[in-house]
Amino acid sequence: MKQKPMVEMEQVSFKYEKEWVVKDVDLSIYEGQFLGLVGPNGSGKSTLIKLMLGLARPDRGSIRLFGEPIKKFDQWEEVGFVSQKANSFNSGFPATVLEVVKSGLVSRMGAFSFFKRKHKEKALEALKTVEMEEFAGSNIGELSGGQQQRVFIARALVSDPSLVILDEPTVGVDAKHVTAFYDLLGKLNKEQGITLLMVTHDIGTITNHATHVVCMNKSIHFHGASEDYKEFDDDDLNELYGHSVHQLTHNHSHDEVNRS
């Protein structure tokens, strides 16, 4: 795999106030990969993704998407994104599931173009992939958290992207659907060749599905094939992060929910 990377981050650093949240990150994602991004709460995973998508600007370093500097990048239809905040939106918002999913097509449509029948059909198709088509006419706020999450996944997939980024998409989704969800991701990656980047806490499950794993805590401590990651025992992991992973996960699990 020596083709041009889809995402290319070089020496990227970012701070909100004074403290570095992301430090000296070098990360390239190549076509066809399924990358699991893991790390303790507050380790900068969501921030790294925001930087990657141009939602935050790095203080140092350079970021390229599909070979273009992020500032000049405009092929947004190639990128699907499910934010960690996806289900903390204004739940009183008067929109149907179909309207929300159709909005995922805006990147594919030019200025001054309107939603037509074909867009509706495309949206229904995306809803079918996440098994939500019978809810097309429902108000988005009336669905359960897990159902909303699936709708946002449909919104990310509707424009036929070649890169999909998911930030903790399984939080709040019940176990039954999590299994189906991983199957879906596997299909997207293997059958449709979609490149995936998924942030998760579920280290055990992700290593069984992803081709590669990245562990970060402000900077990247491990980046390699899932097989290699599975070899590590707890002591190795603690060394990787420079902290105790489990302890950190415990201490910060509450702030994380409020913060994001």
Binding site: L55, P94, L98, E99, S103, G104, V106, S107
Partner: protein
């Protein structure tokens, strides 16, 4: 009223202007409400009043200026205020909402000074505060028509961008939508519609015409399009009933229009209640 409507041009002006703003005020109101920008509408209506006061003062003091329609100065101030709010939001990155009270109180402060320099309150000013069925002249009716058509065209053209920006700003950004441009376009439209509406509903009640019909529509609708449709229906109904009763009761239309909108809101809330109770009863039997 129908007979007088045939007879008097001023009444025609007021009714036509009323019907136009009955469409555009709730139309923009939907976006204002879902984006939680209601306070901006209030701030802009107050700065419009400052513009009107400035115009009245100029008319008094500068003899070359007579017969200026204060509405235009109101529009200029309103649009300038909108742009200023956007500027200030960038200055106070962490306290974006501070921009609104700064403009609001600055507008009222300057307005009060200008009003007293122009020798205080007179009937003109009263009609700007609460609306009037006699104050709209032909030229401003045409201006409002022009603004209405422009706003409707822009909302249709940028519908998908406005929707995605209202629902999820982050997603708008990664859809390649220029949030800044769309937002500026939107806020300038709001400023123009507020200045247009002011002649009929009055400064103090403009934001009510933008938000109350939407509040009612939100109780009943599932989709965004339906919310827009119902908001316009409720806004238009309020304007028609409000103007009619204003004429017959000889009270300012601002009061009657807004009270009609309040009545509609109460009715939708009651309707929802009854519907729920019937549902519970239906399940019980």
């Amino acid at each position: 009223m129908i007979e007088s409507l045939m007879q008097y041009q001023f009444l025609q002006n007021a009714v036509i202007t009323g019907l136009l703003i009955g469409v555009v005020a709730p139309l923009l109101g939907v976006f204002i409400v879902v984006r939680r920008l209601s306070l901006i509408a209030d701030a802009l209506s107050h700065i419009t009043l400052t513009g009107i006061a400035a115009s009245l003062l100029l008319e008094k003091r500068v003899s070359a200026i007579n017969d200026w329609n204060p509405v235009y100065m109101g529009m200029v101030f309103s649009v300038a205020g909108a742009i200023l709010i956007e500027r200030l939001r960038k200055v106070y990155k962490h306290y974006e909402e501070l921009a609104i009270p700064i403009i609001l109180s600055g507008g009222i402060g300057l307005g009060v000074i200008l009003i007293s320099l122009a020798d205080g309150f007179n009937t003109d000013l009263f009609s700007y505060l609460f609306g009037s069925v006699t104050a709209v002249d032909r030229s401003s009716m045409w201006t409002v028509l022009f603004i209405t058509l422009g706003v409707i065209a822009i909302v249709i053209l940028f519908y998908k961008e406005l929707f995605v920006l209202s629902f999820d700003e982050e997603h708008a950004s990664i859809s390649g939508v220029s949030g800044r441009f769309i937002h500026l376009l939107f806020i300038v439209m709001v400023a123009l519609v507020i200045a247009s509406s002011m002649q009929v509903v009055g400064i103090l009640l403009v934001s009510a015409l933008m938000t109350l019909p939407v509040a009612s529509a939100l109780r009943l609708s599932r989709s965004f399009k339906q919310t827009i449709g119902l908001s316009i229906l409720f806004g238009e109904t309020s304007v028609i009933i409000g103007l009619f009763s204003s004429y017959h009761l000889s009270v300012p239309p601002g009061g009657t229009i807004v009270m009609t909108a309040v009545l509609i809101l109460v009715m939708t809330i009651m309707y929802k209640r009854v519907q729920k109770q019937l549902l519970v009863k239906g399940e019980a039997t």
